[in-house]
């Protein structure tokens, strides 16, 4: 492993002959801080290969440690897709690690819910507190009265095992507040959501609001930038100027919610002008005839009246896109909890890709080639068979007649208040939120607060006292990703790949890793048999055993691909090669009998977004590059970069309302309001206002960010797509006034 010296230990390393022989020992050009030279103290550097967790992308990193402290985090230069880069958040991991606001000891609530008043407790007392209440709840209501919610992560297996051992089916992820609509559309159309884009080789990338340069996944952004540098085109649709519109070769500003009209019109042109791959369509798709019939009426002239984009432009984009086949890709996006037509939009985007025949060729879409396809799998620790769960889920995920298409590993996280407050189909009485903040993430904050208040037991497992944490009975401090080793994670792409997140420094205070938290909580709850491992090392060893790989080998590089596995495009050399898809037809389903059977629209169909009532604005949200959802706004360095959000409003309506740049504004939906500051800018459409997501926080434990900015989620009602189960978070209209 390459040792990367820190600036403070250069002399040591140089003396050891590793880096440079001719360093002028003792000469420092810039003595800053002045005491730094005195700090050239003993203590060997170590560099730990690990995996970032500042967002969900999980970039490989090198963590430099000296005297038990993390001094720098860099990207692992061995990873080709990032080349040693990490984003602002990844660079700021140390600021999270050292944040005084972190919860470092278990806390038991002493004040009212939401007051944030807690007393310190031992882990034993905290476990006993939770276990006693869970036992009572199970006795009175059955195990299904427990719900658990989490951000999917390498370590969530412990929470999931605990929930399954306890006997509840009510397991939720945050996905229904983010990519669920897209995932379900992919499941229906391609038979899997394990599909990725070969960004760096794409010649023509069409993005329907996927803001690659700001809602940042480093490998994606880097691939696209490299593509642009060699002459690739990026056509980007967004009502707002973003870093992606700056990078794009063409930026189009459609009216919010009308991207579907644009996509359908492109399909219409491509079918009418035969700008598609006939052989591919015949061989690999199902339902082209129905698609052709469905899009017949969706002409560019029609779409122009919906989107506000000229018909000629739409036609040009369709022709260019079709002409660039097969290295043309329409990005299926990420966040897709925007409009009721989002599922249709994602289906239409997947159809665009199908028409250019880009599946499994360089510069197209590819199926993720995981370990399983390579004939092996990660092992697991030994545990008894988990009990059969018979109770139905509260949210109807996977249930015929309710949300049959929603994966039960995700469910509908927005179902919590409905269940608790109406008792339909029955009431959840206990909830464990693991690195997940329903109060910040899910719309209708007042109703969520009412529900949290009504729970018999609310536990938050987190690094901070989140908004939800402020309402919890118990907060269990999980240590950060720099202080723990996680189970081996798959990070496969064109070839199978695994990665290991390794502990770089000991946990601060009394924080603990989740493998330990749930093992110990299970012990206190009488479920210890399911966690019969000694420690994380034993788990990692069990995982690696089937691969014939030792932990020591994986620790060195931090990631591993089977030695004889090569990046694979199934259709690179033979465009007729078989591609197995797990759809009913075994093909890309442009028309879905399965949807029809379930009572949903089987064909592509336009659904208009609602029109804003007079005097209101369409309200859209987005993510900025220096924060992740609602998780990082309080981290000192990142908070300094962007401490609050603003309401973007166009100069014309701002002038009408007497709002000047920097003025205080009130944003209202019905009786609910949020206050913030106006940013008067031509970078947004006239009838639309915008804020970054993640502000309007209520937890007293978030000392920097509490009370800052606009929390639009708090104002929105819960609207759920009856098909995908996804939240719909862009169909709420707001009134804006000067405060």
């Amino acid at each position: 492993m390459a040792i990367t010296p820190t600036r403070r230990t250069l002399l040591q390393v140089a003396a050891a002959g590793t880096a440079v022989a001719a360093l002028p020992i003792g000469v420092r050009e810039v003595a800053h801080p002045p005491a730094a030279s005195a700090a050239e103290a003993p203590g060997m550097d170590k560099v730990v290969t690990s995996v970032c967790e500042m967002c969900t992308v999980r970039c490989p990193i090198l963590v430099r440690v000296r005297d038990g402290k993390v001094v720098r985090i860099e990207g692992n230069p061995k990873e080709k897709s990032t080349q040693g880069a990490i984003c602002a958040r990844g660079n700021a991991g140390i600021s999270l690690l050292e944040d005084p606001d972190r919860v470092r000891t278990p806390l038991i609530r002493v004040g009212k819910r939401g007051e944030g008043k807690f007393r310190k407790a031992s882990w034993e007392e905290a476990y006993r507190y939770i276990a006693d209440r869970l036992t009572v709840i199970r006795g009175s209501y059955g195990p299904q009265a427990l719900g658990v919610g989490r951000r999917p992560s390498a370590g969530d297996v412990f929470l999931l095992t605990f929930a399954k051992a306890f006997g509840t089916p009510n397991i939720f992820s945050h996905e229904s507040s983010c990519p669920l609509g897209r995932n379900v559309a992919m499941d229906v159309t391609l038979g899997t959501s394990g599909v990725a884009i070969d960004y760096s080789k794409v010649d023509y990338l069409l993005s329907f609001g996927r803001n690659h340069m700001e809602t940042l996944a480093v490998p994606q952004a880097q691939g696209i930038v490299a593509g642009l540098a060699r002459g690739a085109r990026l056509v980007y649709l967004d009502p707002r100027r973003t870093p992606t519109s700056t990078a794009a070769t063409t930026w189009l500003q459609p009216l919010p919610g009308t991207d579907l009209a644009f996509a359908l019109a492109m399909l219409q042109v491509m079918v009418a002008e035969e700008l598609y791959d006939h052989d591919f369509v015949t061989r690999y798709t199902h339902g082209f005839e129905q698609l052709a019939a469905a899009v017949l009426e969706y002409t560019p002239e029609w779409a122009a009246t919906k989107t506000g984009i000229p018909a000629a432009t739409i036609r040009d984009v369709a022709r260019d896109f079709g002409g660039a086949r097969p290295r043309a890709v329409a990005d299926f996006g990420w966040f897709s909890s925007s409009y009721l037509n989002d599922f249709q939009l994602r289906r239409a985007i997947l159809a665009l890709n199908a028409l250019v025949g880009n599946l499994e060729v360089p510069g197209g879409l590819f199926l993720v080639k995981g370990l399983k396809g390579y004939g092996t799998e990660l092992g697991d620790w030994k545990k008894p068979k988990l009990p059969a769960v018979t109770a139905e889920r509260v949210d109807g995920a996977g249930v015929p007649g309710r949300f049959p298409l929603v994966p039960i590993k995700d469910g509908l996280c927005q179902a919590l208040p409905e269940s608790v407050l109406t008792g339909k189909p029955y009431a959840l009485k206990a909830y464990i939120a693991h690195r997940f903040d329903p109060l910040a993430a899910i719309p209708d904050q007042p109703r969520m607060i009412e529900a949290l208040n009504k729970l018999d037991l609310l536990v938050s497992v987190d690094v901070y006292m989140s908004d939800t944490g402020a309402y919890a009975d118990v907060i269990l401090p999980e240590c950060t990703y720099l202080e723990r080793t996680d189970p081996v994670m798959e990070a496969s792409g064109l070839a199978p790949k695994i990665r290991l997140r390794q502990q770089a420094v000991p946990p601060q205070g009394d924080a603990r890793p989740s493998w330990r938290i749930y093992k110990e909580l299970a012990g206190a709850t009488g479920l210890g048999d399911y966690f019969a491992y000694k420690d994380i090392d034993e788990i990692v060893a069990a995982q690696l055993a089937p691969l014939g790989l030792t932990a020591a080998e994986l620790e060195k590089s931090g990631q591993w691909t089977p030695p004889d596995a090569k990046p694979t495009y199934l259709r690179k050399t033979d465009p007729t090669a078989p591609v197995k898809l797990k759809t009913p037809s075994g093909k890309i389903e442009l028309f879905s009998e399965e949807l029809a059977k379930l009572g949903f629209e089987p064909a592509l169909r336009y659904m208009a977004p609602p029109e804003p009532p007079k005097g209101t604005f369409r309200m859209i949200q987005g993510k900025c590059a220096v924060h992740t959802n609602s998780a990082t706004q309080n981290i000192p360095v990142l908070h300094e970069l962007r401490p609050s959000n603003e309401l973007w409003i166009h100069p014309v309506p701002a002038g009408r309302l007497g709002i000047k740049d920097g003025d205080g504004v009130i944003v209202r939906v019905g009786k609910l309001e949020q206050r913030g500051v106006a940013k008067v800018t031509g970078d947004i459409l006239e009838g639309t206002v915008f804020t970054y997501h993640g502000w309007g926080r209520v937890s007293p434990g978030l000392s920097r960010v509490k009370g800052k900015g606009i929390g639009f989620n708090a104002l929105m009602p819960v609207i759920t797509d009856p098909l995908s189960g996804s939240l719909v978070m862009r169909e709420t209209f707001v009134e804006v006034s000067k405060s």
Binding site: T4, P5, R7, L10, V13, A14, A19, V20, A22, L23, P24, V27, E29, V30, A31, H32, P33, P34, A36, R72, I73, E74, G75, Q83, G84, A85, I86, C87, A88, R89, G90, N91, A92, I94, S95, M213, E214, L216, V218, A221, Q222, V225, A226, L228, A229, R241, P243, T246, A247, T249, A625, V626, P636, V637, L638, E640, L641, T681, G682, D683
Partner: protein, 186 residues
């Protein structure tokens, strides 16, 4: 990349910022901040974002390492000077904290570290350079928009972009001969 020391005149460093590749993500800002232990509230390097009324592209903004640097000229104790390899540095032991340099810098690239009682700014991560490493901002750049150029090296790609005029300094009319060069326009 080859190594450099204080007395090394074999190198002539400059920074090339390709704004076509910069996505404005501020990874460089934070890498710099952590690498150089910059105190709370201060930054050696930031990104000025594009807006409809302002710059069309994101602009990385930090010390320009000028050949005719006003900060060097006004420094009463010669604490600020330009190394033979082109890096403008501050020798803390000689600095009296008068702040003339902060006022003199036309690019507003310096800040005052109240705790240390000293001005500070980008030094192109001299410690890293001396150890044969790229500056932290270059190393972490997501778009690979930043490149350390060595104008003394004949085959240096980034230096070639400066020589050809493709990469140009910001506000050359100020006459300070900056060593940070920007590629603007596709």
């Amino acid at each position: 990349m080859s190594t450099a020391t204080k007395t090394d005149v074999r190198h002539q460093y400059a920074l090339v910022v390709d704004t076509n590749k910069c996505i404005g993500c501020e990874a460089c800002s934070v890498a710099c901040r952590v690498e150089n232990e910059v105190p709370d509230g201060h930054w050696r390097s930031r990104i000025v974002p594009p807006t409809s009324g302002g710059s069309k592209v994101p602009m990385k903004w930090s010390c320009m390492h000028c050949a005719d640097a006003p900060c060097v000229q006004v420094c009463p104790t010669k604490a600020t000077y330009r190394r033979p390899d082109g890096i403008v540095v501050i020798e803390a032991a000689k600095c009296v904290g008068c702040k003339y340099c902060i006022v003199a810098c036309p690019y507003g690239a310096r800040y005052f570290d109240e705790k240390a009682g000293l001005p500070d700014k980008c030094d192109l991560c001299v410690d890293r350079l001396d150890a044969g490493l790229e500056p932290a901002c270059v190393q972490t750049c997501v778009g690979r928009a930043l490149a350390l150029a060595d104008l003394a090296a004949p085959n240096d790609e980034a230096a070639a972009r400066i020589r050809s005029g493709e990469a140009r300094p910001l506000h050359p009319e100020l006459g300070t001969k900056p060593s940070v060069y920007y590629v603007v326009g596709k």
